[in-house]
């Protein structure tokens, strides 16, 4: 059986079965301290709902926005986030790591 924590790929399948538009974000590379390992998935619905995670909550907001854009253009996008010392409120990883996230539309 699967655990009680929702699985992003299953959620993605359900959204698509309902005729909704969605994208899949995946951690493809990490450097230094990062909370989620390579391969971690986050499914994003066109309205901004999401399932799964690509960080400890630090960059999810920005990834959701990028995913909504990708759903619109239909083209994959590679995102990169790192530590942001100069602008403390900028989107970044507080843990000092760097992460690359591939966002792909489901077509």
């Amino acid at each position: 059986m699967t655990g009680a924590v929702p699985d992003p790929l299953n959620q993605l399948s359900r959204w698509l079965a309902d005729g909704k538009k969605a994208a899949l974000a995946t951690v493809i590379a990490t450097w230094g301290s990062c909370p989620r390992p390579v391969g971690s998935h986050m499914a994003v619905l066109e309205n901004g709902d999401f399932s799964g995670s690509v960080s400890g909550g630090c960059i999810e907001g920005a990834v959701v926005e990028a995913a909504q854009e990708v759903i619109g253009t239909g083209r994959p996008k590679l995102l990169e986030y790192g530590v942001s010392n100069e602008v403390a409120w900028e989107v970044g990883l507080a843990c000092g790591g760097r992460v690359q996230v591939l966002v792909e539309p489901i077509t």
Partner: protein, 233 residues
């Protein structure tokens, strides 16, 4: 990702065999690769397929061939680790859902119908058999943890013997230090060496002064995760 490709990935995960998806980061083209075949719209050369299959065996996702078009991302999907719990006792009622939440496939073995009766284990898979037969059905491998909880040598001992003959990454037995010493003597009488029985964590669980069934389940889960991650390093 195409919708039919997503369906393929989700279906393949249910089959509990390792595989990988390979994505061209620039074009988004993808193929699914397992031991024997590759499906999808991304063509891979023989050396690339070999590298992908090496990563599947090593359970190592990551980017390869970065010099070509931004690289290929390999996502390895390995079947979840398993936990076999012997004894549908009170601690099992807490341990089974905790392990399940931690991503383990959980199965409980107990020949006593009343202990496995509907409701006690919610939707956890149960095998109502003696541990000898139950362990044969489960066939523990290097991604399996075996935890005995019955306190009853008739049930615990055959399960531990089967676990010791397997490659299970974790073997644990509930019981005091005194009952564990007696257990080791019985297993030694069955022909297991000291090195064999040293694989058994007994009393099972990290020492966090756990008192209630749920707390003991947390201490067992923590010790299992410690072993799983130590293996991975």
């Amino acid at each position: 990702m195409r919708q039919d490709f997503l369906r393929l990935v989700v279906d393949r995960r249910h089959q509990k065999q390792p595989f990988a998806t390979v994505t061209d980061i620039q074009s988004g083209r993808q193929s699914l690769v397992d031991e024997t075949v590759a499906h999808g719209d991304l063509s891979l050369t023989a050396p690339q397929l070999n590298e992908v299959r090496r990563r599947v065996s090593a359970n190592r996702s990551g980017v390869m061939d970065t010099e070509v078009n931004g690289g290929l991302f390999v996502r390895v999907y390995s079947p979840p680790a398993r936990m076999v719990i012997v004894g549908a006792v009170h601690i099992a009622q807490a341990l089974a859902p905790i392990a399940s939440l931690a991503g383990f496939d959980v199965v409980v073995i107990d020949p006593r119908e009343a202990f496995v009766r509907a409701g006690r284990l919610a939707d956890i898979q149960a095998i109502v058999e003696w541990p000898d037969d139950g362990m044969k059905q489960v066939a523990p491998d290097a991604r399996t943890a075996v935890v005995t909880l019955t306190h009853d040598p008739k049930l615990d001992d055959p399960a531990l013997a089967a676990a010791l003959r397997s490659k299970a990454f974790f073997i644990g037995a509930l019981g005091s230090r005194k009952t564990h010493a007696q257990r080791l003597e019985r297993l030694s009488g069955m022909g297991f060496s000291a090195a064999d029985t040293a694989r058994i964590h007994g009393p099972v669980g990290l020492d966090i002064n756990a008192a209630t069934p749920a707390e003991i389940a947390v201490s067992i889960m923590a010790q299992v995760i410690e072993s799983l991650r130590a293996e991975a390093e």
